[in-house]
């Protein structure tokens, strides 16, 4: 490669990094500024916005809601995906293609449309599910499926779990024993990976939460949206927290973005 070409490449990279970091930097600065609307740089620095936020009861309620959502989605998707995938892998190879096609569905259907379908379906049913957190939990679980599926499936393939289970059974092990001694220990890192991806997805999910339950049962992002219109600084504090959290989770699953779209 010539020098000129290299220069262009490096400039593009630097541009991207600046583009990523600049808004984040401004956000952090704003969250610790005392006053920053008359001067170029903040007039002073304080952490009071952080302590205000952490004393706000509504913040903890929203955090609690989001955590409940995330944990339920993780638990449900793990309990449903792992046995299903294992059965498909061991006995029904043809069903696997089916599961795989379904796991792509949440990428094809934007969450706004998903929310619309759910609202339309459940609003007309006699069961009192419409507009409740229960329905939101189930909806989030559906969005969580592909993330768990990808992580577990990747892991299952790289270590060749199907063969392990087969040999364990051939050697006379019973199913409970196989589950605790072979399946769970080997798949654990895949399940953890999927759980981290789900956690980061659910915590930032806005469309479903806003359209299905809205302000009556606020999650973190709905709370952030309501704060944003009243108090810019509190919103920036929350955004800093959110970015840090996303960053931590992504570092734990370095290739998170790749897995998310199943391009591996």
């Amino acid at each position: 490669m010539g020098f000129g070409v290299e220069l262009v490449l490096v400039l593009a990279l630097i541009f991207m990094l600046i583009y990523i970091l600049f808004p984040v930097g401004a956000m952090i600065l704003f969250s610790v500024a005392t006053r920053w609307d008359r001067t170029v740089w903040p007039e002073g620095y304080t952490l009071s916005a952080y302590s205000t936020l952490f004393r706000d009861r509504e913040f903890w309620i929203a955090l609690y809601h989001s955590t409940v959502l995330a944990l339920t989605a993780i638990a449900l998707s793990a309990f449903l995906i792992v046995p299903a995938l294992l059965t498909a892998e061991l006995t029904l190879p043809r069903v696997k293609k089916f599961i795989e096609a379904f796991s792509l569905a949440p990428f094809v259907i934007p969450s706004v449309l998903f929310a619309l379908g759910l609202v339309e379906t459940y609003a007309s049913l006699p069961i009192p599910l419409y507009g409740t957190p229960v329905l939101l939990t189930l909806a989030n679980t559906v969005l969580a499926f592909p993330l768990m599926y990808r992580s577990v499936e990747n892991k299952m393939h790289t270590i060749g779990l199907a063969k392990m289970v087969e040999s364990a059974i051939t050697l006379g092990a019973r199913m409970p024993f196989v589950t605790y001694r072979v399946i769970l220990p080997n798949l654990w890192s895949g399940i953890v990976n999927g759980s981290l991806l789900i956690l980061s997805m659910v915590l930032s999910e806005f469309a479903l939460a806003n359209l299905m339950v809205g302000g009556s049962w606020p999650t973190l992002s709905v709370y952030l949206y309501s704060v944003m219109r009243v108090d810019g600084q509190a919103a920036s504090v929350l955004s800093v927290v959110s970015f840090t959290f996303t960053w931590l989770l992504t570092s734990l699953v370095t290739v998170g973005g790749v897995r998310r779209y199943g391009l591996s």
């Binding site: 490669m1 010539g2 290299e6 490449l9 490096v10 400039l11 593009a12 990279l13 541009f15 991207m16 583009y19 990523i20 600049f22 808004p23 984040v24 401004a26 956000m27 600065l29 704003f30 609307d37 001067t39 170029v40 990428f107 094809v108 259907i109 934007p110 969450s111 706004v112 449309l113 929310a115 619309l116 379908g117 609202v119 339309e120 379906t121 980061s200 930032s204 806005f206 469309a207 806003n210 359209l211 809205g214 992002s221 952030l224 944003m228 929350l238 955004s239 959110s242 970015f243 996303t246 960053w247 992504t250 570092s251 370095t254 290739v255 973005g257 790749v258 779209y261 391009l263 591996s264």
Partner: protein, 253 residues
């Protein structure tokens, strides 16, 4: 399924008349705006993302590369309400950069406002560029060193390598990433909603208004719009799956 049913449901009969709603100027304009915004941001994301990805792959050490990719993956997932907040602080009516330009007297008047189409493009690029980088990396890693060596052994230069080998092999992957980027911004709702609210005409926002809004509640129109979106995305994704297979053929074969 319910969406489909609702979209053709009439007064006791089946009708396609709800699809005629789409021809109303409001919805038609939303559709056009959505498509234009998605195409533009997907294209710009690729334009800036591709050289950045090349630089990552060829000019950085392993460690630097890992750090940058983690950062890019974070940015690609950092969409929605917090992103809108960050950009408002930076470029909003009284944002940092806006003020900086004022105070130093670089500009006498604000050249643009964030709460506009341009603003949305800037916001979408924040996750589109990194997303493209993250998605194209596996494909770039799949390009074999031997191919490049073969070209130079036969007397070709780097330019020839890209024209005859690099781009033809990468083209399905590039197109696939383009489709994902397009779909990503086509369905994005939270970011635009947080920034400009209901006043901006984008398809996902119009749909959400028609299904949950106080004004203009119209589930039939919402369903019809939704069907159009789903149909478009299905076509794109079937195309995408085919592309993925073709690229897999190259890298493994």
């Amino acid at each position: 399924m319910t969406i489909f049913w609702r979209s053709i449901q009439g007064e006791g009969t089946i009708t396609f008349s709800h699809y005629l709603f789409l021809l109303r100027p409001l919805y038609l304009k939303s559709l056009v705006q959505s498509i234009f915004l998605s195409l533009l941001t997907a294209f710009l994301g690729m334009l800036f993302g591709f050289p950045a990805a090349l630089a990552l792959q060829h000019l950085l050490s392993h460690r630097q590369k890992n750090i940058s990719i983690t950062l890019a993956a974070t940015a690609a997932n950092f969409a929605g309400v917090p992103l809108a907040v960050a950009f408002m602080i930076l470029l909003g009516l009284n944002g940092f950069l806006t003020r900086l330009l004022f105070h130093r007297g670089f500009m006498s008047s604000v050249p643009f406002t964030l709460y506009s189409f341009t603003g949305l493009v800037l916001l979408y690029l924040y996750f589109q560029i990194p997303l493209f980088v993250v998605l194209i990396m596996p494909a770039l890693e799949g390009l074999r060193k031997e191919w490049r060596e073969a070209v130079s052994t036969l007397g070709g230069n780097g330019y020839l390598y890209w024209v005859k080998v690099g781009f033809p092999v990468l083209s399905p992957a590039l197109l696939g990433c383009f489709i994902l980027l397009y779909a990503n911004s086509f369905g994005a709702y939270a970011t635009a909603f947080a920034l400009v609210g209901a006043k901006f005409r984008l398809l996902p926002i119009q749909i959400s208004l028609a299904v949950a809004g106080n004004v203009g509640y119209d589930p039939h129109a919402a369903s019809a719009m939704a069907m159009v979106m789903i149909a478009g995305l299905l076509v794109l994704f079937s195309f995408y799956i085919r592309l993925r297979k073709r690229f897999a053929l190259w890298v493994s074969g």
